[in-house]
Amino acid sequence: MLENEKEILERCLKGDRKAMETLVIAYQKPIYNYFYRNLKDTEIASELTQDIFLKVFSNLQKYNFSYKFSTWIFALSHNYLIDYYRKKKSISFSTYSYDNSSTPDFPDNKHKSKEDELIEEELKNSVWKAVEKLPEEYKELIILRYVNGLKYEEISEILEIPMGTLKNKIFRAKKRLIAILKESKK
């Protein structure tokens, strides 16, 4: 994601504050959205993003420069999310707020007149609401692939699963997503 990423990371290792800031600016949005999409809570997403960057800076000496930094930071985030789910197992995140009012990321289209635009927006809403209803594992796969725009190779490294298995799981996730969409139309 960053042009001179290696150099920035080396400066971060030396404790260069400016380099650390550059790294945070470059990765805060994808990491924040990763947590937000998985947990659907802006406050928790913000907290977990902060924790991840603290982890990054205190464990940077363990980072292997032959791997992509994005893979490493997402692997840290994935493990952190798993820990978070484990700690909060009593709360069911798969049933976390689905009411129509809880979608701050979609613009309010009430004032728009074009019917097709409305339908399109409605469909977008339905798709992302359906993503929320996916089981945690499938939801995370869809988020890594589409929200974070990662390649299959990267996701396979982050989650430590073979490519074939990953492709199959992503397909199953999409299939389930379509099933949820159809179910919600009934």
Binding site: M20, Q28, Y32, N33, T49, Q50, W128, Y146
Partner: protein
């Protein structure tokens, strides 16, 4: 003869260009005449399109500053810990110096000469509560009035205990007072 319907996984891979060219062409041909598969393809394609344009949230504007503040605080904490340990060790050396060059000189030299006694003491240690009480009594006596005569192996143990206690107290005080010690270093 018509080819059997395409399966959804194949359609999905076809849409992602993740299928070999020969099969991709076959699928294209099939989609030309099979309305059912075409409808299935369009459905998956639509979902793919929506997923590919995710509505991304902007992180809170304060996030960067919060992270940087936490990072700085964590680094200061580490420095504080090292400084506290350093102060503790300074305390340890100061105590040793005090013991060696003031009232404990003869005692330390005697103990170095009589190494066997030290080994004997380590092997036996304190065996019962009564002995522990008497050791504590002696320790208290030593703290208030350090003796230089009649040095016994047990006294070495007491001296070491005294030094450890003093070191722990010093580390404790420095940790407790770390905010005062490092106040100027905090931004």
């Amino acid at each position: 003869m018509k080819e059997k319907h395409l399966n959804e996984e194949e359609i999905s891979l076809f849409l992602e260009n993740d299928i070999d060219e020969k099969r991709a062409n076959e699928i294209k041909e099939h989609l030309k005449y099979c309305e059912e598969c075409k409808a299935k393809m369009l459905e998956i394609k639509k979902v793919e399109e929506i997923l590919s344009e995710p509505p991304l949230l902007e992180p809170p504007p304060s996030l960067l500053n919060t992270i940087m503040e936490k990072v700085a605080r964590k680094r200061i904490k580490l420095e504080e810990l090292f400084i506290s340990i350093f102060i503790g060790f300074l305390g340890l050396f100061a105590t040793l110096f005090y013991l060696i060059y003031t009232k404990g000189t003869n005692f330390v030299i005697n103990m170095l000469i009589k190494k066997i006694n030290i080994t004997f003491f380590i092997k036996n240690g304190i065996s019962n509560f009564g002995e522990l009480l008497s050791v504590m009594k002696k320790l208290f006596y030593i703290i208030i009035n350090l003796p230089t005569k009649n040095i016994t192996p047990n006294l070495l143990y007491l001296r070491i205990a005294e030094i450890i206690i003093l070191t722990i107290v010093l580390i404790g005080i420095s940790l407790w007072k770390k905010d005062v010690v490092l106040k100027k270093r905090k931004r």
